[in-house]
Amino acid sequence: MEPLELELDVAALVKLAKRPGDEKGPCIRAAVLADTSTQLLTTMLRGYARHLGCNLELFEAEFDQIEFNVFDPESPLHQFNPEAVIIYLSAERIAHNYGSLSAPERGSTCENLVRRVAGLYEVLSSRGYQTIFFNLVSPAHGVFGNFGNKVAWSLENQIRRFNVELSRLAVEKSDFNVYDLAALQAAIGSATLFDPKLYYMSKFAIAPAALPRVARGLAKMLTARKGSFIKCLILDLDNTLWGGVIGDDGMDRIQIGELGLGRAFSAFQSWLKLMKDRGIVLAVCSKNEEANAREPFLKHPEMVLRLEDIAVFVANWNDKASNIRFIKSIIDIDFGAMAFLDDNPVERQLVRESFPGMIVPELPEDPSEYVTFLAGLDLFETGSYTAQDAQRTVEYQAEVKRSNDREKFVDLADFLRSLKMRGAVKPFSPFNIPRVAQLTQRSNQFNLRTARYTEKQIAEIAASESHVAMAIELRDKYGDNGLISVIILEKQAETLFLDTWLMSCRVLGRGVEQFVLNTIVKKASELGINTICGEYISTAKNGMVKDHYQKLGFQPAGANRWTLSVADYREYPVHIALEAVTENSSWQAASRDATTEPAPAA
């Protein structure tokens, strides 16, 4: 990926849009419908998707043909069959007509628009498309000045109320999303976002200079469901999380809170804490004595971040590249999903050169600007958020402990036995559907077919008679790993086809694959099916599983397909005990019931 500066250049994006696609990249089918001119926006969107390494197939509706495309079942939109539909209703159109409306009509603008949006959404949702609606900018009519807030039918009031309603729909409906154009207007200002002469001349409601930013936001929303988004922030300490150098200045002279520039750093820490609560993992990578580096986290009263907020804490005198490799061994994600934040341009350049996929923003010199700068990079789009995201840090901390303890065992089998692992195999249920869907969207590496599913689709699979679904959870003496593998089996004639086999890389090398296969074969046997069929679909990121089926004893069956005979199968010995859990029971209840001992190793 090019340095971030490239991302905002109109000419560069137009050129990128013309480049041919990359076969191994993820493919997204999206549609854009609007009541203003969208040609330049869609070009920028194509260019930006190319920049992200995605193949974007884009359907652009004819100008002002939104209702036709949505409501006519034979329309070009439905024939195109997108995954996501972007609808841009412009504030400018509303503002343009406002003067001609009667007072009661003006007063029902918000209500009418909400009804219009709901109507469009119902149809699109029923066809399984994700929807992305732009919210409205404020055209600053200023007819009443600030008094406009006291007038129900002022344009500003109607538009703001509409935006609130849009957010309400977004909270309620899992497939309803908002592209926050109003937030962009707040960030860059009307003067940059809107050029009136271009609107009147060519119906461009967004000035070309601002389009790359819109394209970036949309592209990231679209690709977030394809597994590409930031999962980890690696943080330097000195002059990044606090002012000064802890080794030299000591606890009482580093600047956090009210001392010196401290407020800027406290604000930055506070923002990072929000990131952590959101499920983005924080890691520390600092050149310091470990004890010195930890001290502020433990003892400084004005630190916002504490040790428990940091998933992996690395402070030593090794080079940062080696330390980052260690961090990656714990948090096994793509470098492209990691961002490195360090005030030192030399360290940043070193990391950029060592890990070309990693995101290394050029932090501004003034720490006061850290938050606004980072927030403005559109780095943090996501396709999902579940309650379990907040647990991720705790899970990684347990992983660090496991990793450190592994050093003490000579024999892998001994180590695995010592973990006292217990696995639970659960059906899909409202308790785990969001998390299952999220995992299908996030998982890139240990993923045999990279089939991406929305919550709605997972619910359909759960209810389907012709599918067998398994959500596998793993727990050991260090803690609960939560959901670590998803299996979706489809009954096809005399075989059980593995539509989905994905696993969290965190639990590699523990026998989970064998445990899962034992379970699948047992299920097949219960159903009276003798053949299990698997498929490997190669992507840029899942090379690690190309021999997965071969290693598990499947036979090649041509064209990336593999089969296993249930009758000939011998159960793999594993160090994971199968929990007898029902769908709704908690782990505590299960551990009281558990009776199975781990099978002995071969």
């Binding site: 109109v10 000419a11 137009v14 050129k15 013309k18 040609q39 330049l40 070009t43 002469k197 271009l198 009147y200 001349m201 060519s202 461009f204 000035a207 070309p208 200079a209």
Partner: protein, 84 residues
């Protein structure tokens, strides 16, 4: 007084229309240049405003008959703002 307007404008056209061999004359119009459509027209306006640090009004843009008139307009605007 030396003035780079023609050269700068030619570069802008070449970059926007993605044609390094493009040449402009006083009488060139949109019809004469392949790829000069309504979208590239907007991109040209934006690029000209940005490069020469001037603002063109809708009326001025609408009145332009050919590239020669555009050059004259740019020069006139630059001398008003004092921009180089």
């Amino acid at each position: 007084m030396s003035d780079n307007t023609w050269q700068d404008l030619t570069n802008i056209f070449r970059s926007t229309l993605d044609d390094e061999a493009l040449t402009l004359s006083e009488s060139t119009t949109a019809k004469d240049v392949s790829g000069w459509d309504s979208i590239t027209h907007v991109l040209l306006v934006v690029a000209v405003e940005k490069h020469f640090k001037i603002k063109l009004t809708a009326g001025e843009i609408q009145k332009l008959q050919n590239v020669g008139e555009l050059v004259a307009l740019i020069r006139a605007k630059k001398s008003v703002t004092g921009a180089k």
